[in-house]
């Protein structure tokens, strides 16, 4: 078990499997019925983000499409359990709080060196902790 510090943006506690995206992420380019990424050029193309702890660098897309994408996933229950982001933007911050999805940033550098796809992890936004179990 390893513990890393981070900074809370949207509160909440979530446990799940890590899924790492090296590409920026647009929630509108995910099939709301399955949680599967449908953007052909994306590194997660064909993979599902449903129930995962999604690690990604930046959001992308207009405020309208990003919010709508997250909303649709929330309604079908296919949203990620938590999100760990490098560079948060206004749209993503607002959407995460509105949708009540835990979102953290400023994870310490050693987290990024340690974390792997499929790791079981816990994000405790309020305490500013990410724990790889």
């Amino acid at each position: 078990m390893k513990e890393f510090s981070c900074h809370k943006i949207s509160e909440g506690l979530a446990k799940g499997e890590i899924l790492i995206s090296k590409d920026d992420f647009c929630f509108y380019l995910v099939d709301p019925k399955t949680g599967i990424v449908i953007e052909p050029q994306h590194c997660l193309y064909g993979k599902s983000i449903a129930g995962k702890i999604l690690v990604f660098p930046n959001g992308k897309g207009s405020s309208v499409v990003q919010a709508d994408g997250m909303y649709q996933l929330k309604m079908t229950g296919m949203e990620p359990k938590a999100m760990i982001i490098k560079n948060p933007d206004t749209t993503l911050v607002a959407s995460a709080i509105i949708m009540e999805t835990p979102l953290v940033d400023k994870a310490e550098a050693s987290f990024y060196e340690t974390v792997n796809d499929g790791d079981l992890a816990e994000v405790d936004a309020a305490r500013g902790k990410i724990i790889i179990l």
């Binding site: 900074h7 309208v64 990003q66 919010a67 206004t90 749209t91 959407s95 709080i97």
Partner: protein, 399 residues
């Protein structure tokens, strides 16, 4: 973040649950950007979108008792009455437009349904701190007026309208408004359409840096609308400077805050031509013409009227504009001229709305790359051409 007593009270829920939620979001945005404090805003514009998440959040705020302290102007959805005269509107689309209208009415928004509020209903002064969303609006008020806004999301702008504050970061700070890359325009810039192409192609060379243009001479307000809208669609550029023209760029040195520009790019006629080629669908027969992304001004409506006067359009031509522009066009006889030729002036409407279903699967002509960009998802094809060429194409039915 350091909050004032009043701001803390809002965050603690003393002004109600809706205000609390709005404040919570703004504090989170502020913390994400390391903002030290909140600052008051005196204007806001919300990019209402009439889509599910927009309605859901607006209704949530209403149900939590929120009311805007700074009544914001809002973006268009679609004009139900006008569309019902020309097409069938699905019951679910009628329902959402009515619910969105009710929600924003209860929030106390100024229901302008117009994406160019900076030209008529919501005009800031130099240096004024505001919270504007909408991709054509943020660059215009930042750059042309020298007002200050971040590139707000529809939701964060609405939160600022409710609370009257915005986190102090980004473009609100003097040092972040400094030009970052010099863009020397060698292209001829013959008409407003060339500014569409310039706006769309500049970020390909400059990334997200703040561009400082030279070589542009007295662009019209329509050219500036186009430039900003496309800069913010082709990239996320919500502030630019034009040397000798915009208020924070009296000369090159001022635009770069006394520093020597580190990077320079040159944009030529060839670049604009290449950009258009990349954006447009192939020429051929067309089914319709669609203009007004961003909403047309009365001058643009007049340009169309002059071109179609006394003629018959081969395909329907739609112009999206504000209700006040439509009214003005009626008073000036322009609406009549366009309607007699077979065209329509649609007030309060955005092209990214389900009211245009009757055009899905069809091919149109437009002068706006932004219009074509958003409708790709809705299976509409677009040939992109200057306004004059597009109107001529609508008269002929092909381009």
């Amino acid at each position: 973040m350091i909050l004032t007593e009043h701001e803390q009270a809002m965050l603690d829920g003393k002004m109600g649950e809706g205000v609390k939620l709005a404040m919570k979001i703004l504090v989170a945005v502020g913390e994400a950007y390391d903002a030290p404090k909140m600052v008051p805003v005196t204007r806001a514009h919300v990019a209402l979108s009439n889509q599910e998440a927009d309605l859901w959040f607006a209704e949530k705020l209403v149900n939590m008792g929120a009311v805007c302290t700074i009544p914001p102007t809002v973006n268009p959805s679609f004009n139900l009455e006008q569309f019902q005269c020309i097409t069938h509107i699905d019951p679910e689309d009628e329902a959402i437009v009515k619910r969105t209208h009710e929600a924003y009415k209860k929030l106390g928004a100024v229901l302008t349904y117009n994406c160019t509020p900076y030209l008529e209903a919501n005009v800031p002064r130099f240096g004024e701190i505001t919270a504007f969303s909408e991709s054509s609006a943020t660059p215009f008020i930042n750059s042309v007026y020298g007002a200050r806004t971040n590139r707000e999301a529809a939701q964060s702008a609405l939160c600022s309208a409710v609370t009257g504050v915005t986190p102090y970061y980004g473009y609100l700070l003097e040092e972040n408004r400094k030009g970052e890359i010099w863009v020397e325009v060698e292209a001829d810039m013959k008409n407003d359409f060339d500014y569409q192409m310039l706006g769309y192609c500049t970020p390909k060379f400059t990334g997200f840096k703040i561009p400082v243009f030279t070589g542009l001479h007295n662009p019209s307000k329509e050219a500036l609308m186009n430039l900003g809208a496309q800069l913010n669609t082709g990239g996320n550029v919500a502030l630019y400077h034009i040397v000798g023209f915009t208020p924070e760029a009296s000369d090159l040195e001022t635009a770069f805050h006394g520093e020597i520009p580190k990077e320079k790019v040159v944009i030529t006629n060839e670049d604009l031509k290449k950009m258009r080629k990349e954006l447009t669908d192939p020429s051929g027969k067309i089914d319709f013409a669609l203009f007004g992304c961003p909403h047309f001004t009365i001058a643009q409506v007049k340009n169309v009227a002059v071109l179609v006067e006394g003629k018959k359009l081969a395909v329907p031509l739609f112009i999206m504009c504000s209700a006040s522009t439509r009214n003005l066009a009626k008073q000036m006889g322009l609406k009549n001229v366009i309607e007699e030729a077979g065209g329509y002036l649609m007030a309060d409407t955005c092209m990214d709305q389900p009211s245009w279903k009757f055009l899905y699967g069809k091919k149109g002509v437009t002068d706006s790359p932004k219009c074509a960009y958003y409708t790709k998802r809705r299976d509409m094809q677009f040939v992109i051409a200057s306004l004059e060429e597009s109107v001529m194409a609508a008269l002929k039915g092909e381009i």
